[in-house]
């Protein structure tokens, strides 16, 4: 009995490489979004040790075009994320380049603040070419 006890004590002191003991809390960022708890009506979910992190995938469909967000997937590391992205999102030659970004690294603007965020651009109609009435003789400009 005493022997067992000391063993247990040892184990609690050194939670070394037992991956089942990894019960840390990870905040989830869906589609690069801040956690939904702030937006209300969220379904709170628990992340466990073997849940691979979420990655956002961006694909360049051909040379000369931007990378475009296509969705997300789970992978243990960056290399696996890229390989999985190839299998999930480019089965029909949809891409020539893949970016994988761990979702938690993406910062997003808050839609609730959209109005004030974009407000400065709202009343500057003179930024549009149609604001200027020019004589027809000017032609295409």
């Amino acid at each position: 009995m005493p022997k067992n006890n000391s063993k247990n004590k040892n184990r609690t002191k050194q939670p070394d490489h037992n991956y089942n003991d990894m019960s840390f809390q990870i905040r989830k960022f869906y589609y690069g979004d801040i956690p939904e708890d702030k937006a209300g009506g969220a379904i709170v979910s628990k992340q466990t040790a073997n849940d691979w992190p979420l990655w956002e995938i961006f694909i360049r469909s051909k040379q000369g075009l931007d990378h475009k967000h296509v969705g997300s997937l789970h992978a243990a590391d960056a290399q696996m994320a890229i390989e999985n992205a190839r299998d999930v999102y480019t089965r029909r030659m949809e891409g020539v380049s893949i970016w994988a970004v761990e979702s938690k690294h993406i910062h997003a603007s808050n839609p609730d603040e959209a109005t004030s965020l974009y407000e400065p651009a709202n009343d500057k109609i003179y930024r549009y070419p149609t604001f200027y009435d020019l004589p027809d003789e000017v032609g295409h400009m």
């Binding site: 991956y19 989830k28 869906y30 589609y31 979004d33 801040i34 939904e36 937006a39 209300g40 009506g41 969220a42 379904i43 709170v44 979910s45 628990k46 992340q47 466990t48 040790a49 073997n50 849940d51 691979w52 979420l54 296509v70 969705g71 997300s72 997937l73 789970h74 243990a76 590391d77 696996m80 299998d87 999930v88 999102y89 089965r91 029909r92 997003a108 808050n110 839609p111 609730d112 603040e113 959209a114 109005t115 004030s116 709202n122 009343d123 109609i125 549009y128 149609t130 604001f131």
Partner: protein
């Protein structure tokens, strides 16, 4: 603070109109008029604003405010849809090793891989609503979450793979084309992606049946037999009749669904009744008849007892399918663990290299 919050909401409501004003140019809105717009809508509550956006065909994105019930309905529907793609691999996987030629094997393999991809697009869309992958998988394995009942029927012959492609994928496409215009952005985008790939599935199925229908008498019989067995379960894929569908009204109002079960089912019948003629086969419905006056096919009654029975878990393969999923999950546990451990080790190595 509170006031600013409401003003924000108000502007969001008005924004399409405001943009239209600005877009048509030449008219400059005086700030005071603008403010009036804002205060007009201050009194409207969140839910009405949400509905207003939906009515105006503005897509809802993950971080936008949405009613709890909308979120729950979507999680339920999208995860069910994802599970259906994943479980749907099982009846077809049954035939990969037995497909009649190398070409057919390669095609079927590609199709089954597509289904896995479709499942992933959908899980990814559902996760934007705040549910976790693990939760969804757990719900599937515990039997709490449903998947399409069609996959609880067995694939007994090679012709069944053809019938699945033509009828089951054909029915799914009608539903999915409608869902490309669903109100929730990530779901709609996943659907667009899926629809692009799905027509290959239907065509390859029809191709299998067409080949059989031009073959020996035994092959022809096999073809007709598969159609006979898959027709009614495919008709059931559209769900209960509109009069008995509990979720339909609200889903239509929220524009999650855009066509009713009965509407889609009618489209399906009209489509298949013509295509079956190309095969020189028949659909197993004595009441199937062209209705000249209404410009559509009349068809017989679905066996609703069978429908509810399979939904409740008493179909021919319900247990077998879930057992197969659970087994795959449990036997894959060590792979998931090993990959996590490897990733962790690599990270530590990188840290050490940096420190050194």
């Amino acid at each position: 603070m509170r006031k600013i919050f409401f003003i924000d909401q108000g502007l969001r409501l008005q924004s399409p109109k405001v943009i239209r004003f600005f877009g048509s140019a030449k008219c400059y809105i005086h700030p005071l008029v603008f403010t009036k717009f804002v205060f007009m809508s201050v009194l409207i509550n969140q839910e009405e604003l949400f509905q207003d956006r939906v009515d105006n065909e503005i897509k809802i994105e993950p971080r936008d405010w949405m009613p709890d019930a909308y979120r729950k309905t979507l999680v339920r529907q999208i995860s069910q849809h994802a599970h259906s793609e994943i479980v749907g691999m099982l009846p077809e996987g049954n035939w990969i090793s037995r497909a009649p030629s190398l070409k057919r094997k390669a095609i079927l393999l590609a199709k089954v891989q597509d289904e896995a991809g479709h499942g992933l697009y959908l899980y990814s869309a559902a996760e934007t609503l705040g549910t976790s992958r693990e939760q969804m998988i757990n719900d599937l394995h515990s039997g709490k979450a449903k998947y399409s009942s069609i996959f609880n029927y067995p694939t007994l012959t090679w012709a069944d793979i053809g019938a699945i492609g033509w009828l089951v994928d054909g029915a799914a496409i009608l539903n999915q084309v409608m869902l490309c215009r669903t109100s929730y952005g990530p779901y709609a985008r996943a659907m667009v992606r899926i629809c692009k790939e799905e027509s290959f599935h239907q065509r390859q199925g029809f191709d299998i049946l067409l080949t059989l229908s031009r073959g020996t008498p035994a092959q022809k019989e096999m073809c007709q037999d598969a159609i006979n067995r898959w027709w009614w379960p495919s008709m059931m894929m559209f769900g209960p009749r509109d009069s008995e569908s509990t979720n339909s009204d609200q889903s239509m109002k929220w524009k999650i669904k855009r066509k009713s079960n009965d509407e889609l089912r009618q489209n399906f019948v009209d489509m298949c009744a013509e295509q079956v003629k190309v095969l020189g086969m028949t659909l197993p419905d004595a009441d199937l008849k062209w209705n000249e006056a209404e410009g559509k096919y009349d068809f017989g009654e679905i066996d609703w007892d069978e429908f509810w029975n399979v939904v409740k878990g008493n179909g021919p393969c319900n247990k077998q399918r879930l057992d197969a999923r659970r087994k795959a999950w449990e036997e894959g546990e060590w792979v998931r663990e090993a990959a996590s451990a490897f990733a962790k080790k690599q990270q530590q190595k990188q840290k050490q290299d940096k420190a050194a």
